[in-house]
Symmetry: C2
C-alpha cells in the first residue's frame, strides 16, 4: 500500500481540512487491509462523533477517496481507492479477500476477469470477493481481536 498524505487528498478533492477528516484517513491508511465501520468507530469514537464519522465516510465514498466493500454480514468496510478513482468512476475492480477466521478484508492485486453478460444485461461495474483463510490465519490460527 502506497504511503498517503491526508492533507493532499483533501485538497485534491476540495474538502475542508479538519482534524476529524485527517484522522479518518490516517486510520484507514494505517493497515493494508480494509477496515469496518464498527472498528473505525471503536478506534475513533473518543475523538470523533458517531454521526460525523458516518458523514465523513459517505463524503469520502462519494468523492472516490474510499471504496466500500460489504462483507457477508452487510457491514461496510472501507479501503483507500487507488489514485485513478474519481468522483464519477471507481476503479476498484480488484478482487477482495474476506478472511472467515479473522474477518479482515484484503484488496488483492488481482483484477476481476471480464465476464460476458447475457443478452440485454449491461454491466457497469463488478465486484468479486473470495472467502477463506488469509495468509496470517493459515500460518497461525488466531482469533479476531
Amino acid at each position: 500500500m502506497t504511503k498517503i498524505n491526508p492533507v493532499n487528498i483533501l485538497k485534491e478533492h476540495d474538502l475542508k481540512h479538519t482534524k476529524q477528516r485527517v484522522r479518518v484517513l490516517e486510520e484507514i491508511s494505517m493497515d493494508e487491509v480494509a477496515i469496518s465501520q464498527p472498528e473505525l468507530e471503536k478506534k475513533l469514537g473518543k475523538e470523533i462523533d458517531r454521526v460525523t464519522l458516518y458523514r465523513i465516510l459517505n463524503t469520502y465514498e462519494d468523492k472516490g477517496i474510499l471504496h466500500r466493500i460489504m462483507d457477508m454480514n452487510g457491514t461496510a468496510n472501507y479501503a483507500i481507492c487507488s489514485s485513478s478513482c474519481s468522483e464519477h468512476h471507481h476503479h476498484d475492480e480488484h478482487v477482495h479477500f474476506n478472511c472467515t477466521s479473522c474477518f479482515k478484508i484484503y484488496c488483492l492485486e488481482v483484477r476481476i476477469p471480464k465476464i460476458k453478460m447475457p443478452d440485454g444485461f449491461t454491466a457497469k461495474t463488478m465486484s468479486t470477493t473470495a472467502y477463506g483463510t488469509c495468509e496470517k490465519c493459515n500460518a497461525n490460527p488466531v482469533k479476531p481481536d
Copy 2:
C-alpha cells in the same frame, strides 16, 4: 427457474411443515429474481410475524435451501439454491446481477471464473456481482416498485 415443491423441500431437510414456511418458499420461488428481506416482509407481513420471518430465513440458509446475496446497501436478498446445495456446502457459485435501476438481483447462468489466489491465501468460496441495468430496464426505463 425450475418449479419447486415447498412440501418436498421441507421433508428433504427434516423441517416441520408449517404454513409460514410454505408461504416463504412459495413467495421466494414466485419470481426468477432474488427477493430482499424488506420486500418479503412487505409481502408476508400480514400473515407472518417479522421475527418468524427472520428465523425461517436463517433456518433455510443454514440448511442450504436458500442462498443469501448482499446488495450494495448491505440488505439481504434470498434466492432458492440449486438442488446440489447441502447443509455444509453451498454451490451457488454463479454470477449475480444487481440492477441499479430496479434493484432486482438476478442469478445468472454464468459460473464465476477460477481466480488464482496469492500465496498463503486459501479461498473456499467466491462471490461475484455485476452492477448495471437489466434486460427489462434496458428495454424500457422504469422505476422501482
